[in-house]
């Protein structure tokens, strides 16, 4: 019970002192404003007008073509205007000078300047097929106008997907991207807070007084827990405000994966933070002066940036690739890469289980390693210690 009380007292002090500090208030407010700002900018640019196409018509089009074009345009959320063109040469010329986006011939040919706009191609194909269909029905004796009316309700077709990618794709990617950024920022900034906190205790030499009463490992646990709680609060605020603002600004509908992603983001934050925070703590215990904080944090911060970039380059574009799978199972990268794959709905349950298991094992390993280095280095002063030296110095420290 003593251990729990010690850890609680240390954590409580961390939370109380930091919540009062200007640095915490400012950084939290700044991050939240940043998220809201980014979402607002996205909302502004996502209000794009519907695409408008100008289509040239060569020869005598069938009577239903005009109606079919309108129908297809409506179905695609596009606007279509037409102009008659004399012949193929005129059509080609108009296409070359961008006078029209496409030309339709009365034999059913669709002429475009170059491939690359599948929306336009499919829309025109649909229109031509429908016009031909209406024409044939008319030839068979049906009234073209009635036929046209019959086709109307089919103007909008709902597509439902069994698996992700389809309708959720964009929103899923947005959530995944935001998750990667937020996780990286929160894990690395709060991890570095642990480092500076450890270093502060050493530099101010208060640590000897504290470890005379509280074993070094409990001090480490309390510090990591206290700062982690603040990180968790900030993360939950970010997720809540981010999703809330996104929905309010009509930026996205909550994708199906949103809730699961949010929950898993918190789980992976806790694992990732624990992993990085204890390494940062050990690194902080190796130096004795505030000026050395940057140098101490550098290797770890670089590692975190590395997995962050790798997640951007590999996981976000190809969440189901071998590279993404490996990254998301590799403990230092997993806390950032895994939630992204979850948001993109690209994770098999066994993978998640394996990933969490590997991560928990890795956290256990680094806690063992880092706690010993921390305990060994805590009472050293003067020159920067190496990891190995601190590991060996732990032999001289009685109560770990």
């Amino acid at each position: 019970m003593r251990a729990g009380r010690d850890v609680y007292l240390v954590a409580e002090r961390e939370v109380r002192e930091r919540i009062r500090s200007r640095a915490f208030v400012v950084s939290t407010a700044f991050t939240l404003l940043l998220v809201i700002g980014v979402l607002a900018v996205l909302a502004f640019f996502s209000d794009r007008p519907p695409p408008a196409y100008h289509v040239g018509i060569v020869g005598q089009p069938s009577s239903g073509l005009r109606g079919a074009l309108d129908l297809a345009a409506t179905a695609n959320g596009a606007l279509v205007s037409t102009e008659p063109l004399a012949d193929r040469a005129a059509a080609e010329a108009a296409l070359r000078r961008d006078g029209v986006d496409a030309a339709l011939f009365d034999d059913g040919t669709i002429l475009i300047a170059r491939r690359g706009n599948p929306d336009l191609e499919s829309m025109l194909t649909l229109a031509v097929r429908q016009a031909t269909f209406v024409e044939r029905l008319a030839e068979a004796g049906f009234d073209p106008d009635e036929v046209q009316d019959l086709l109307l309700p089919a103007g909008r077709v709902q597509v439902e997907a069994l698996e992700g990618g389809g309708a959720d794709g964009d929103a899923g990617l947005a959530v995944a991207t935001a998750g990667v950024v937020v996780l990286f920022v929160v894990i690395s900034s709060y991890g570095q807070w642990v480092l500076t906190g450890v270093l502060e205790e050493k530099a101010n030499r208060v640590v000897e007084l504290v470890v005379a009463a509280v074993p070094a490992r409990r001090l480490l646990a309390g510090k990591v827990a206290g700062i982690g709680l603040l990180g968790l609060i900030q993360l939950v605020l970010l997720i809540g405000i981010g999703l809330g603002a996104g929905v309010t600004l009509d930026l996205f509908e909550l994708p199906r994966t949103a809730v699961a992603t949010a929950v898993w983001t918190v789980v992976w934050f806790l694992l990732g933070y624990a992993f990085y925070a204890v390494i940062f703590a050990a690194a902080g215990s190796l130096v004795s002066r505030q000026e050395e904080a940057q140098a101490a944090a550098m290797p770890i911060a670089l590692g975190a940036v590395g997995v962050y970039l790798a997640t951007f380059v590999v996981v976000l574009p190809w969440p189901e690739s071998v590279g993404a799978r490996i990254l998301s199972l590799f403990p230092p990268a997993a806390p950032i890469a895994f939630p992204a794959r979850i948001a993109l709905d690209a994770v098999a349950p066994w993978e998640l289980f394996l990933g969490v298991a590997l991560m928990v094992a890795a956290v256990y390993g680094v806690v063992r390693l880092a706690a010993r280095v921390y305990a060994g280095a805590l009472l050293s002063s003067g020159a920067r210690l190496g990891w190995r030296k601190a590991w060996r110095a732990a032999r001289h420290v009685a109560a770990g």
């Binding site: 502060e200 030499r205 208060v206 007084l209 005379a212 009463a213 032999r395 420290v397 009685a398």
Partner: protein, 295 residues
Amino acid sequence: MLELQELQKSFGEVRALDGASLTARPGRVLGFLGPNGAGKTTAMRAIFGLVALDDGRVSWEGKPLGREERLRFGYMPEQRGLYPRMRIGEQVAWLGRLHGLAAPEAGRAAASWLDRLGLADRRRDRLEQLSHGNQQRVQLAAALVHHPEALVLDEPFAGLDPMAAEALAGIIREQAAAGVTVVFSSHQLDLVQDVCEDVAIIDRGRVVLSGSLEEVRRRAPHRRLDLALEGDAEWSPGVPGVERLAGRNGLTTYLVPAETDPAALLADAARAGRVTRFSFQPPTLSDLFREAVER
């Protein structure tokens, strides 16, 4: 009773403790004295489990000293330090809670010690807003807040002005009078001989001399004679065993065998000139230390 028995500790090639032993008794002040690097800090850290001993035992009231008992000790490490941005009232109270006090009791004890040390109106200030001297007082409050049964102070007088040193000596004596076991270390042997009742003198990891101050001084084979003669008169002692130690400002110091009769010395000196100063007393701790380590 706090006992250190045959403590051994090496850091690589360096032997910090080489069989050091000492005993501190309740209600008494033990001065743990010795030059810098003699092993005082290592021994004190060993009391708090901050150093893994190669051998030897630390015991309290006859039993091995454990974590629970240690929480009832007050500690002032050689490396002073507290949280610079934490308010001192909260800081001292927090340290009290760390040593097992409940929050309300810790708050009361912190307030009462800070009042006592003249910091009543600074309780809500951050440590870094205080002068160096006041920070030292907070450090003392931190060692005392949880009503410790034993006080272990590593170089508590270092860097104090005479007023602050006198105030600290008063608190140390008062704690001992209340039954607390007090150990403090110092490398300035003579400055603290008024404060302690018992001494343990350490050199190169071994305690070379220990006991009550009075007994240790009485047991010494020499006495210290300070003598001044009028003018530049020179005394060539006619008494056997007198050894000239040093002379400064007309005052000359001699070491003489303890059994020498002071009256005979005075009479012998008076033959050389008019005696303006004459003091015959037990050796200082520095003298004893020199004798013990023979250098």
